[in-house]
Amino acid sequence: MLKIIAGLVCFLIILFSPVGYNIITGRTYYVPMLKVPQGDCVESTVYMRKRHMEVLERWRNAYVRDGIKRYISINGIYRIGLTGTCLKCHSNKAEFCDRCHDYGGIKPKCWDCHHIPEVKAEK
């Protein structure tokens, strides 16, 4: 009986451990805020929030495999390129990409190969 209760308590502790974890880290209500640059992105913000990884994948395939180097959307014509295009506006990876990715526990492998231009001092 005692052992079972102990086991049950252990189970409950494990079950509720995420609650405690966040309290300990003090980030219970933390939601990342992003610095969204001025101007239009290649697609709408809502669309990009959900599907930027798909856009990037399409870009990747278009650029590498099909040799297509330009992307035409409602907002204009863009050169396909992560470093060259995306990071031109979203110049601060740490503040833009990483915040959300860290929050969502996502670790994209882009940066293993692609380079981050040095953060330019704000003009």
């Binding site: 009986m1 995420p18 966040n22 219970t28 990747r60 929050y103 526990g105 996502i106």
Partner: protein, 329 residues
């Protein structure tokens, strides 16, 4: 009937949630009230069920022994299948929990060649299927922790990376998703086969369909009906810390997924899913084989009517005398 009804039940639940969210904007009902309600009921039910089990004693010491007992010092005893120490029992129970050792025991003998030598092979399909399902379920649950923990611990990220190691698309296909889908299909289809179908109940199919629905909605959400993962995490964190909020970026599929998980949670204490706790309590597995070494107490033991020696001697006095067997009186 046994199969089609549970199928309709699960699809019905999913459809109601989908339409409710998509058409009637019932996010509040399916996203907040339902999960809270289910979780609380499930928790209470789960604890109640365990307490009820615990309240019934184990009156007798009845381990199923699957190996040589410890008797004479020169005979090698089986430490795990006939455990006499707590450690042995621990290994035995863990063996069941982690590796399904009993299911693994399924042997098949085949005769080969002129010599008719016996070769043991096995049809361990059920074992493989069950093991894949449960292990990948664990992986998937651990992966979901990224939506519950802030900051996300690095081991979860590593696990995720490992799981998505065959990354070919964005977002990557998880190995666990592939295997859990395969194994749930296997577990479902084996129930369609005659022998298992005979012993299956609608409840058995219900759980499989429900799990299938959860897996399917999860995969759809990841690859087709994308949702904003930030909103998902913010939503879940809100739920945990009792500040529930409806977020814009969550599609109907998210609520279907969440709703089905809630139903599953609610269903746990009332179903065979309690095997997750029961496997630890099974008296044939979690007792030591030390029945003759240590007395086991039966808490509800009561005196019974016995035929005492005195009564017996009185009854057979003459016969005993005739046989020359010594008498007490």
């Amino acid at each position: 009937m046994k199969i089609i009804l549970p199928f309709f039940a699960v699809s019905g639940i999913a459809a109601v949630i989908y339409i409710g969210v998509k058409v009637y904007n019932l996010q509040l009902v399916f996203g907040i009230i339902l999960p809270y309600l289910c979780f609380i009921l499930a928790l209470v039910g789960f604890i109640a069920r365990i307490i009820r089990w615990a309240a019934s004693p184990v009156p007798f010491h009845i381990p199923t022994v699957c190996g040589q007992q410890r008797s004479l010092p020169w005979i090698r005893s089986s430490k795990i299948d006939s455990p006499v120490t707590g450690l042995g029992v621990l290994f035995r129970v863990l063996g069941e929990v982690l590796f399904f050792r009993s299911l693994f025991r399924n042997d098949r003998a085949n005769l080969y060649g002129e010599q008719k030598r016996i070769i043991y092979s096995s049809d361990k399909l059920l074992w493989v299927g069950a093991l894949l399902f449960h292990w990948f379920l664990l992986v998937i649950i651990l992966r979901h922790l990224r939506l519950f923990l802030e900051p996300v611990p690095s081991w979860i990220i590593s696990l995720q990376g490992l799981d998505g190691i065959f990354e070919t698309t964005m977002p990557g296909v998880y190995i666990s998703n592939v295997f859990i889908s395969l194994s749930i299909l296997y577990l479902l289809f084996r129930r369609f086969r005659s022998r298992i179908r005979y012993i299956s109940l609608p409840a058995d199919y219900f759980i499989l369909f429900l799990l299938g629905g959860i897996i399917l909605s999860g995969i759809l959400m990841r690859h087709i009906y994308r949702i904003d993962i930030l909103d998902a995490k913010a939503f879940i964190m809100g739920l945990i810390y009792l500040k529930p909020m409806v977020h814009e970026g969550l599609g109907a599929m998210f609520y279907v997924h969440l709703g089905l998980v809630s139903i599953l949670t609610l269903y746990i204490p009332h179903s065979k899913l309690m095997h997750m706790a029961g496997v630890f309590l099974s008296p044939t597995r979690n007792l030591k084989n030390n029945s003759r070494m240590k007395r086991h107490i039966n808490p509800w033991d009561y005196p019974v009517k016995v035929h005492t020696y005195e009564e017996w001697e009185d009854e057979f006095k003459d016969a005993l005398k005739e046989a020359g067997i010594p008498l007490d009186r």
